[in-house]
Every structure is written in structure tokens, then in C-alpha cells.
């Protein structure tokens, strides 16, 4: 267990974090002073996990369609406009051409340049072939205003599971689409892609801010739901030599953040549906490694169909993204790295006394 929190007394951490939150809102300005030329600050938007689902003919699940359509339309209204837009994976539900085409058509309405991450729901029908025709390579890197961005395909798994286990591609897709499925398989970046990553990062100065986008968390939270990447430690080892590495991931459909050594982790919201936190799942308790610093989202109000879904913008100052969560019918949240405590913190709710109590569930 590499979770930094495990070595810190919980009460003393909460006290520190609470004091920080009480003293000021998120110290974005401090980050700027410490690390960056403010002129280099920029914002990008992040949409993820749309799960566009084909029913038959021209019919798709309306609720998932509306979630992505709305996120795209709102992103286009951002003033000032974001430098680019990321899509964090799981555009489709079962990886079909119909779903990927329908989703791509919605994403085509974005005004800003789009970069895409591969999700397991996009991949396991044809192993990413049609997705790549639409969106290009499955792993790549790019530089923007002094930050080195890396996109990984983190949802690969063993060759045995991928190529030999299943009689049909459709069954392979369905097996990987389920939670708590003993027939599933843990995600991994894989040796080949790690070798590429090592080579890519070798060309980058160690002071350069590095931000990695993956679909699954490059950390081990809960295996049963694949909130997990099996070779997370090996990928983390490649990032550790850098001064301020950050990993941003989708897949979990909820707010999470963590700090493992010098690597900061943030999750992004889904536009489709929320997942519960795995700690609420009785079977998860025994093997759960949930980041203790994460202030969970409050329970969704079932009146609002879009509550507990959303999208986010990320302000990048000094190479460290601060996530501004746009949460429908809920209180927006801001989570960013706080240099005084050396880990990410929520700008308003880190202090337990300030949290919004969850609704009572009957």
C-alpha cells in the first residue's frame, strides 16, 4: 500500500487540511508564485464516460445522449474558451460502430480541439480498431504551454484473456463491461506501452510539468470494479523522477483524489451516470484502498436525473491542474494541489465540519 495517508495519523491530517481550508480558498495564487509564469496559465475542459448506448435502428438511450449533448454545448459556452477539450474514454457502451459514430457526431460539435482517451467500453469489441479510425492513436503525447501531456491506453489486459478466452468479440466486450464479474480481468498499461512511455519521458526535462491522462486510475483502489491498474507501480515509477507529475483518470464516475509520493491523482465525472463509492459496497471492505483524503460527493437527489453526473474544467497553473467540477443540480466543487500540505484538497469541503451531510437514504 503506497497511499501516503496510510503513514499519517488521520486526525492530524484532517486538522492540517481543515486549517488550510479555513485560512483561504484553494491557494491557486500560491501555486502560481511557487512554480509558474502566470502568463502561461491556461484552461482546458474534460468530458468523460458518456456510455452512448445503441438500442436498435436509429434509437439510442436518451438519457446518456442528453448528458453528452449538454456537456458539449456547455463546454462551448466557456468564457474564455478552453485551450482544448479532453474526452476521457467510454464514449460507447458496447464498442459498436453505431455507438462510436453517434458519440463522435456529438463530439464533433465541440469548438475546441479534441483529444481522446480509450476506455474499455470503446475497446473490447474490435480491440480499438474503429475507435482508432475515428480518433487516431491509442497512446500519444503532446506539449502545450510548457506542460507535457501523455495519453495512455490503460485498459489493456493479458493476451490470454484478450485473444484466447472468448468465443466471440461480443462476449469479450460484455464480460469486460460488467462490475463484480469474476470473468473480467484487471486493466494494465502493459510492457510495450510502458517502454514507449519511458522513451517519451526520456526527452522531457525533470522540471517540466507532466500530466498523464488515462481511463483507469493508475493506482490500485478496488479490483472488483477495476478501479485499478495492475501495473500501476511500474507506471508510477516512470513518473516519480519528475517534479510535479499528475494523473487524471475517468472510469470511476465520481470525485476522487489522491497523492502517492510526488504524484497527484484526480478523477473526472461521467456524463452518463454516477457510481456509488466502493466503500459503500460490503464486499469491497476487505480489499479496499480508497484514498482517505478524498471528500466523497454528497448523495445524488433522485429528483434530478443529471445529479451526480457532470464535467469539469482544469486550470493549469505551474503545470498542476486544479479541477473545477461542474455538477448538475448540485454544488460545484474545486479540487487542486495544496503545496502547504503536499497533497490535493477540496477548496471548500476538506474540513469535516464544512461538509454537506449526505441525504438520509430510506
Amino acid at each position: 500500500m503506497t497511499d501516503r495517508m496510510s503513514s499519517v495519523d488521520r486526525r492530524s491530517f484532517l486538522k492540517t487540511a481543515g486549517a488550510a481550508a479555513a485560512a483561504t480558498t484553494l491557494p491557486i495564487s500560491l501555486v502560481e508564485l511557487a512554480f509558474a509564469d502566470p502568463a502561461q496559465n491556461f484552461t482546458f475542459a474534460y468530458i468523460s464516460d458518456a456510455h452512448i448506448q445503441h438500442i436498435a435502428g436509429t434509437r439510442f438511450v436518451r438519457n446518456w445522449d442528453r448528458g453528452l449533448i449538454r456537456a458539449v454545448a456547455e463546454t462551448n459556452l466557456l468564457t474564455p474558451a478552453p485551450d482544448f477539450v479532453m474526452f476521457g474514454g467510454d464514449l460507447a457502451q458496447l464498442g459498436t460502430k453505431a455507438e462510436l459514430d453517434h458519440g463522435a457526431e456529438m463530439l464533433s460539435k465541440l469548438n475546441a480541439k479534441l483529444y481522446c482517451v480509450m476506455g474499455e467500453h470503446d475497446y473490447y469489441l474490435d480491440l480499438g480498431e474503429y475507435w482508432s479510425k475515428l480518433f487516431g492513436p491509442q497512446h500519444y503525447s503532446f506539449d502545450h504551454k510548457g506542460v507535457h501531456f501523455v495519453v495512455l491506453n490503460s485498459i489493456l489486459t493479458t493476451d490470454d484473456w484478450t485473444y484466447k478466452r472468448w468465443p466471440t468479440a461480443e462476449q469479450r466486450m460484455l464480460e469486460m463491461a460488467g462490475l463484480d464479474n469474476p470473468n473480467g480481468s484487471p486493466f494494465m498499461v502493459g510492457e510495450k506501452q510502458r517502454a514507449w512511455l519511458a522513451g517519451d519521458l526520456a526527452k522531457v526535462g525533470k522540471d517540466t510539468p507532466v500530466v498523464v491522462f488515462s481511463h483507469s486510475p493508475i493506482q490500485k483502489i478496488y479490483k472488483g470494479w477495476n478501479f485499478w491498474t495492475d501495473d500501476a507501480e511500474q507506471v508510477q515509477a516512470l513518473l516519480k523522477p519528475f517534479k510535479t507529475p499528475t494523473v487524471v483518470y475517468g472510469h470511476v464516475h465520481q470525485i476522487q483524489y489522491n497523492q502517492i509520493d510526488n504524484i497527484t491523482f484526480h478523477s473526472v465525472m461521467a456524463t452518463a451516470w454516477p457510481w456509488p463509492y466502493p466503500e459503500s459496497y460490503a464486499q469491497a471492505k476487505a480489499e479496499l484502498n480508497f484514498p482517505k483524503m478524498t471528500v466523497p460527493m454528497n448523495r445524488a437527489d433522485p429528483f434530478f436525473e443529471r445529479d451526480a453526473t457532470g464535467w469539469q474544467t482544469m486550470d493549469v497553473a505551474g503545470g498542476r491542474p486544479t479541477l473545477k467540477y461542474n455538477l448538475y443540480n448540485n454544488t460545484n466543487r474545486v479540487v487542486g494541489f495544496d503545496p502547504r500540505i503536499g497533497m490535493p484538497a477540496d477548496s471548500a469541503y476538506q474540513d469535516p465540519a464544512k461538509r454537506i451531510p449526505p441525504q438520509t437514504h430510506y
Binding site: N63, R70, A73, E74, N76, L77, T79, E305, N326, N329
Partner: protein
């Protein structure tokens, strides 16, 4: 036979006693059947003299730049406190606003005022139409204060009600009196109330009863138009994009929204902007909150007396109750197959109601009219 008749007489007597008790209760300030007590802010207690003063102010046409428009022009008691059948209100020099005059009936229960909730209460609401260029068109409130300070009747009334005279009379007193009057305009006792809260099985016909089942189940109406155990204001007080107005300006949203995203407008500026330009009006609550959640959203109106306040929706764009229900049945578009707007509220989706079911829902809406407004012109027209 004899016994039965006796029983009937007893029942009738009990009914009369109950009705008189109800009337007494209403006269004594208790709420009508189906409504909770009227919320009255501590700083503005009700009194008979204050209500009478408010009523006089409400009807005074001198409080407009042309001397032709009073509050009552658009909130006409003989038209269920609306300007039905106008789609949007008509102010000075026949200038049109952009929104359908909401009824004053039961406005006292609303948590915010105006279609976009830009005003927190009745007192604040009363300040704005006086100054809006397309409503009463005054440059500032001075002409009103000049009149109420000098006019003998007003001077006496303000002295009696507030103990104030001359310069001590301000818009605070003027709007408090108007709000006090508006808090007396409450109406329940509809056939629905007698059936649902009064336990009168024959108050609704079978179609209306089926309509209520659809209202709470398949039609999903009750999600926003709330009915509670002991009362029904028929609103959740929230704001929703239901696909009216904004559907027609979808291409213009980015340009219009950016104006508000760049700089926060004051509520007085919002008042002028949204009533002065139809396209800006369609941004709805967003112009007030600047929240993406609120794009194209408007406050859930009450459904009480809906049959006598046509036309419908914030822009008066739907002429009949049937058109409204068809719009919802289509999942937020008036014409089936039209493009759904990008910001539609999550709860609005196709309902698959049959024609007969739509008829039943319309029938239920017609059972929400309070007896004192049943003779309003729109009701008479609908009955033909």
C-alpha cells in the same frame, strides 16, 4: 324510505355546518381548502387598513409615465389577475414585454417572484414594473412618492398604516402595502380540493379522476407541480428548462449567454434586458444566476386556476392546455420531431400518453379553478 330521508337531511345539515365552518375559517384568515397558511414576513404584518391601501396603490394608473398603466392592467381581477388572453403583457404606449403575466392568485406562496425568480419576495417584486421601459416606464420612483406624499387620501392612509408622512414615506412602505394586498389574493376550494382534501367523491368526474392518476404517475407532472398530503401549491418553486422559448433560439445561445458570462448584470439590468429583448428573455434563470443548470429555465408556475389564465408558458406561446400537455408528451418539443434543446432538464422526456389520456389530464386541469374565478372570461370561452 323515511329513515333514508332523515339520514340525507342529517348529512346535508352536516355538510352545511362544515361549509359554514370553512367560510368562517376563511373569513377569519385561515387558508382555503387545499392551501397552507399564507406566509407573512415578520417585518410586514397584515392589517385591514394596509391591505386596503395596497389595493388602492395596485389600481393607481398615475404610477406610470403615461398615466394609463396600473399593476391591475396586467393583473386584472376579472381575468383571474392576469391579462388573458394576451400572450405577453402590454405596458405603456402598447409596448409589449416578452413574458406572459403570471397570476397574482397564490403568488404569496412562491419562494421567488417573476418567471426567472429574479426577485426574492412580493415587496421587492413590486419595485420593478414601475421602472421597466416596456411596463410602466417611469425613470425612477420619485413620481410615485410625490403622489403618495401629497394626495390627501394617501397621506392619511400612510399615516394610519405606517405612522409616516411626507419624506418619511418611501418605496419600502409603498411596496409593503402592495405586498400585503397581494397576500390576500389566495384561492383554493377547487373541485379538486373538495375531492382530494375534502373527501367529496363526486367533486370530480371519472375523466378528472383518471387525469389525477396520470398526473402523479405516467404523466410525471407531480414531480414539479407538487401535491402534498394536506395541501397543494402545485409548484416546487424550482426552475426547469422544459423546451419552451429556448428551442427557437438555439443557434443564438452562445452569443447571448456570453454577454452574461463576461460580466454580472445587476438584477435591475436583468429586468430591463429580459423584458426588452425576446431572445435574451429565453435564457431564463441563467440571466440571473449565470449557472449552466439554469439555461432556458423558468419557474414552475402553479396550476391553480390554469383553465382561466390562457395562454400558457412563460412566453404565452401555447394557446390551450391540450397544446401544453402535447408539448410535454413530445419530450420538450411543441412539434413532434423538432430538435430538443441541448440544455433540456433531465426529467423532461417523451411520455407516450394516448389522446384519451391527454383529454383526462386537460379535464383535471379544468378541476383546479377556484369558485370565485370560475366566471373569468377564459373560463367562459373554454366552456363554450
Amino acid at each position: 324510505m323515511r329513515i333514508e330521508r332523515k339520514a340525507a337531511v342529517v348529512v346535508l345539515a352536516a355538510l352545511i355546518a362544515a361549509l359554514s365552518a370553512l367560510a368562517a375559517d376563511t373569513a377569519g384568515g385561515g387558508p382555503p381548502l387545499g392551501l397552507p397558511p399564507v406566509p407573512v414576513p415578520a417585518h410586514n404584518p397584515q392589517s385591514e387598513a394596509k391591505v386596503a391601501l395596497g389595493k388602492k396603490l395596485f389600481h393607481d394608473k398615475r404610477f406610470s409615465s403615461t398615466g394609463e398603466v396600473a399593476c391591475a392592467n396586467c393583473h386584472d381581477a376579472t381575468k383571474a389577475f392576469t391579462d388573458s388572453p394576451l400572450a405577453v403583457s402590454e405596458g405603456i404606449r402598447k409596448l409589449n414585454g416578452t413574458r406572459n403575466a403570471p397570476t397574482v392568485i397564490n403568488a404569496a406562496y412562491m419562494k421567488t417572484q417573476f418567471w426567472d425568480g429574479r426577485s426574492p419576495d412580493l415587496e421587492d417584486q413590486a419595485l420593478h414594473p414601475f421602472l421597466n421601459p416596456v411596463e410602466m416606464g417611469l425613470k425612477n420612483h420619485d413620481p410615485i412618492l410625490k403622489i403618495v406624499r401629497k394626495d390627501k387620501d394617501y397621506a392619511k392612509a400612510f399615516q394610519d398604516v405606517f405612522g409616516k408622512s411626507g419624506d418619511a414615506i418611501t418605496m419600502t412602505e409603498v411596496t409593503r402595502a402592495i405586498a400585503a394586498f397581494e397576500r390576500t389574493i389566495v384561492a383554493g376550494n377547487s373541485p379538486f380540493d373538495r375531492w382530494y382534501f375534502g373527501g367529496e367523491p363526486t367533486a370530480l368526474n371519472e375523466s378528472q379522476k383518471r387525469g389525477f392518476d396520470l398526473f402523479v404517475n405516467k404523466g410525471r407532472c407531480v414531480s414539479c407541480h407538487r401535491v402534498e398530503q394536506t395541501q397543494a401549491v402545485f409548484t416546487d418553486g424550482r426552475f426547469h428548462n422544459v423546451g419552451v422559448g429556448i428551442n427557437a433560439i438555439q443557434g443564438d445561445v452562445p452569443g447571448l449567454a456570453k454577454e452574461f458570462l463576461k460580466a454580472q448584470a445587476t438584477l435591475a439590468e436583468v429586468d430591463v434586458k429580459v423584458l426588452g429583448d425576446k431572445r435574451t428573455s429565453e435564457l431564463g434563470r441563467f440571466a440571473v444566476s449565470r449557472g449552466f443548470d439554469d439555461l432556458g429555465s423558468f419557474k414552475t408556475p402553479t396550476l391553480r386556476n390554469i383553465a382561466v389564465t390562457a395562454p400558457y408558458m412563460h412566453d404565452g406561446s401555447l394557446k390551450t392546455l391540450r397544446e401544453v400537455i402535447v408539448h410535454y408528451n413530445n419530450g420538450g418539443v411543441t412539434k413532434e420531431g423538432d430538435r430538443v434543446n441541448d440544455f433540456l432538464s433531465g426529467g423532461i422526456r417523451p411520455l407516450n400518453l394516448t389522446d384519451a389520456e391527454i383529454d383526462d389530464l386537460v379535464a383535471l386541469m379544468e378541476a383546479l379553478t377556484s369558485p370565485e374565478f370560475a366566471a373569468a372570461p377564459a373560463a367562459a370561452a373554454a366552456a363554450k
